[in-house]
Symmetry: C2
Subunit: 396 residues, 2 copies
């Protein structure tokens, strides 16, 4: 077991802020199992490598004998966004919430220990459902309008003159109330959650409880190299993504901009920083291969990492054709090539297909197809390829 100093040093690698560190040291020194809170929005059950960063920290705590407490925010998900302003906050049924929570727990299970000594899953309807108007008046009286408007997302919208509906001010308070009700010792989150999570600390203090320490991790930049990784922006790698194939982890990691390598290595591995710098300086490409192998070994298995690398080498590096690919029955035809691309799901429209053919990005049975007017008959299984990594087997 590492000393307190060693523990704090290990956490520091992927903790942008620990508020306050002195409280964390005191809690770690107490010797009792700490309760590490992590909130989950049931309207967005997909766990990405971005979420994996705070989850790795939670796992560190579990390894030291502490308990992760996962809060499923089911109560507010049942309302959605009643103002209808925010399409990303749909109203969910109880069944949808349960299904999403199950999916979520399966995904985080790739990172966290899930036995009952190390993981507790709680639904916040347990305590929010019984609050009365008086409770809510007391809760809302704890915060002022200007305090809420200090929060980045509110501040920006307020200054731009875009609308903030009053119930949006309730959500940080409800999330903070969760910390009171589950007696959180630490709350983990991305750095955009700092304000929300400090509300929990303050509410615990108001209630005369030992306040939680707020730990926030840096936001992982998405595969596009600029924006925060998120499902809605399409720039994400999911922790349950397949190891290989066109949407597999291996290919996505190999396509990362070189500039992201240092942060990905730092946040998603435990390799010493000097070693990371050496690897990247020696060969960004090799550093990507090794990173891809490590992440797949971690989230799938070492065997899956071997297979994904072999497949990637065969298909992309050597221009070969993979062993496995989706199969689509199209009939014998004759077919225009652009129509086949769309039927196979490789392009979104006929015009996109025509453009790809003109660009020379389309191959039929590994032969470049450039005649956009040609008509094809599909008499036997035929491999249709778009770019380096997208393959579909056409059958009659």
């Amino acid at each position: 077991m590492p000393t307190i100093d060693e523990q704090v040093a290990l956490l520091a690698r992927r903790c942008e802020r620990i508020v306050p560190e002195a409280d964390l040291r005191r809690k770690l020194a107490s010797g009792r199992p700490l309760r590490i809170k992590l909130g989950m929005d049931p309207t967005a059950p997909d766990v990405t490598l971005g979420h994996a960063v705070p989850l790795r920290v939670v796992r560190q705590f579990q390894d030291w004998g502490h308990k992760a407490v996962l809060i499923i925010g089911d109560y507010t998900a049942r309302v959605g966004d009643p103002s209808g302003q925010n399409a990303t906050r749909p109203m969910l049924s109880g069944e949808q919430i349960d299904a999403n929570a199950k999916t979520y727990v399966e995904q985080v299970g790739r990172i966290l220990m899930t036995d009952p000594d190390h993981l507790e899953v709680r639904y916040n309807s347990e305590w929010l459902g019984t609050m009365t108007m008086l409770d809510i008046i007391r809760l809302t009286s704890r915060k002022t309008v200007s305090q809420m408007l200090q929060r980045d997302t509110f501040k920006e919208r307020f200054e731009k003159g875009s609308e903030i509906h009053l119930h949006e001010f309730l959500y940080p308070l409800l999330q903070g109330w969760d910390s009171v009700k589950i007696d959180a010792d630490v709350e983990m989150g991305g750095s955009d959650q700092l304000f929300n999570n400090l509300v929990g600390r303050e509410l615990q203090q108001d209630e005369g409880r030992e306040p939680q320490v707020v730990i926030v991790t840096p936001l992982l930049v998405g595969t596009d190299g600029t924006m925060k990784m998120s499902k809605s922006k399409g720039n994400y790698i999911g922790v349950a993504d397949p190891p290989s194939g066109p949407n597999g982890m291996f290919g996505k990691i190999m396509s990362l901009p070189d500039a992201l390598l240092e942060s990905y290595w730092t946040l998603l591995s435990d390799e010493p920083k000097e070693s990371i710098a050496r690897k990247i300086a020696a060969s960004p490409r090799d550093a990507k291969v090794e990173l891809a192998r490590r992440i797949i070994s971690w989230l799938h298995s070492p065997q899956a990492a071997d297979a994904a690398e072999a497949e990637f080498t065969k298909v992309v590096v050597k221009g070969g054709v993979p062993d496995e690919m989706p199969q689509v029955a199209v009939g014998t035809g004759p077919h225009r090539l652009a129509a086949l691309l769309a039927k196979a799901g490789l392009t979104a429209s006929n015009s996109e297909g025509l453009r790809k053919i003109r660009e020379g990005a389309v191959r039929v049975d590994n032969v470049k197809a450039t005649d956009e007017k040609a008509e094809l008959r599909i008499e036997k299984p035929t491999v249709l390829q778009l770019g380096n990594r997208k393959f579909v087997r056409l059958v009659p």
Copy 2:
């Protein structure tokens, strides 16, 4: 029964705004009894002539066959102001709320008809007490932060940088929800309630109900001649104040600045406007006497008005001594005069008493007392007088 046009003209006298008038005409024309909502804050049960202005309008509606619905805001009074910022919003017990509501109904009974066909009294805990968090999230989602900040009192405080606690944003919504729950046709209030009462109209519309018409009356200026009349500012005349005596209606009205006469006559009587102007032009003093007589006749009785005028003439105009006054037993003494003034409750301190003696404002049995060192023995009932209108009978 007056026509719709006549009714609207009668209302216009003391209605600053009718929002919208077309809706009011439609409701009046429907022939059904309308529900006229009037809210009451149980933390402030004193009814002043300021409140009498909207209450007179409610009474007009009652005279035309409509029903006053008095909402006792007991639910929020049970919380008070949990932020502790606002001493005027103390937390009340159920007993205090009931006692205050009873006092309030007794006072408004001087103006309103109180039989069950014309008055319905409702406590808003009836519907607010059963609201869940989901109901509250839906309710708060109806309004935006900038809409709330348009309200004068919030706007001013926000711009001055003074704190607005979040629960304060809930109150206008809860008050508006009252209108939904009691199916208000009209909500009456002072002009500082326009924003709050329009929230009720909007919530009714959101709920697919026929929305209430909001009628606001001008704010009556207090006896100081500058600020809105209110108990907390001490510049008020209560509808249950005694007709005469040092805190009686007659004396308070006679002390009004002349500049207030026109608004008091307009808002608190039905005298035609031209006649009011003539009376004031002829003699402000006579206009005050007549106003005092009318208000006392209205809120007490014509006999009380006669008696109050006679008493006022005897004591103030002719410098006489009233028949009735408080009696205080002080023992035979000897007493210093300043000490007697304080014991009698006429001054707050010994030094105030000394100052009043030096000013020549103190009389003993109708003889001016100027020797601040004199010692008095009280062997028999003795009248101690401060200024023109304050008397105490001292007994041994």
